[in-house]
Symmetry: C2
Subunit: 208 residues, 2 copies
Amino acid sequence: MARPREFDADAVLERAMHAFWAKGYKATSLDDLCGVTGLSRSSLYASFGGKRALLHRSLARYEEQGIARITAALSRPLPIREAIAAFIGELIDRIVAGPGRTGCFIGNCAAELAGRDRATTIRVRRSLDRIQATFRDALVLAQSRGEIAAAADVDSLAHFLVAGIQGLRLVGKADPDRARLTDITNIMLHCFDRAAEPHLILHRKEET
Amino acid sequence: MARPREFDADAVLERAMHAFWAKGYKATSLDDLCGVTGLSRSSLYASFGGKRALLHRSLARYEEQGIARITAALSRPLPIREAIAAFIGELIDRIVAGPGRTGCFIGNCAAELAGRDRATTIRVRRSLDRIQATFRDALVLAQSRGEIAAAADVDSLAHFLVAGIQGLRLVGKADPDRARLTDITNIMLHCFDRAAEPHLILHRKEET
DNA sequence: TGTATTATGGACTGATCATTCTATAATCGA
DNA sequence: TCGATTATAGAATGATCAGTCCATAATACA
């Protein structure tokens, strides 16, 4: 062995992740990365292999944190619908509170690089798939508890939630308006309700 | 007067727009822009004022085309729900057909620049607002035709459609899978089944 | 203590970036 | 036809980019 590292790789990755998240891939320079991590170029390249590799490590880290966050939110002792509503509500809180309108790191990378950067596209797709699977698993569980109709298409529902949340976060990045985001969420949840219970029969009836 | 321009500003803008749309702002260089437009740097700067100004002109152009496209789609002699379904269906067709997974230009700019570039953020927000208003107007009309309950919140519905379509296009950029996108759309369209008609009373009933 | 090994700081590289500038070309009104 | 005006091509500019390299520092082990 020889000279030991002077930095914590985990902390470095966390800071690099936030830099990419806030500014995007192209707009984050190596000087930026050295600045936020405190590392020199040599150390960054020796330990992580370059800007692109650092992006992918950052994405992987973000994915893990996101999955953990979603899993925790969906594991709360609530009906799944309420757990999802609370999860999105907290998302909105963070969007509205600011200060950094960073959106979803995965969504940002999708917008910036998907279709032009094969490896990143695959990584983004895998991340979205894992998030979808996390929602789906929670929906399956809720289904077994009787909260969702047995015949409901939980896979589609999970895909819908992923896309809906991406849309919500993207719109929230351009316009972090609580009322607007809450309106969107309410209708999303109406869709959820309707899709989760496809066997309800509608009967028109005048309101009292 | 003096020497006349050798190019059609409209055609130049159209090409510049496609360049920004496909690659994003930062990743599109002036050499790229000169290349696709056929103009020299001098002409670009003299006529449009620089890269950033060209982006905003491109965004304005995209917005107009988008509004026109949506207006046309929603004006078809169909129930609004079917018109929207057809509109999104054609969107999916284009996403799946490829070849350039470009997503929505406005959404791309939101993801890349919103929160970091004040002028662009405002422009993106205004574009989203106009699109929302276009949907809302069509929903109001449909409401007057009795397709949507009088008390339905068409403003929220329009906001939801904007966000949902953004999410759909973003996910489609990373994973242009028809089945997935169709599933998402089908659940999105459930918003017309209940949120649009809040006065329907639901009665549980076993399926036969 | 000395040597092998790894980490680090920072200069260096060549490419590319957006923008400006200069020289030339093309048209107008007179 | 001539001078004023505008358009164009392309060179020049200085900043910044990602990535490399080398000298030096710090440790482990012998």
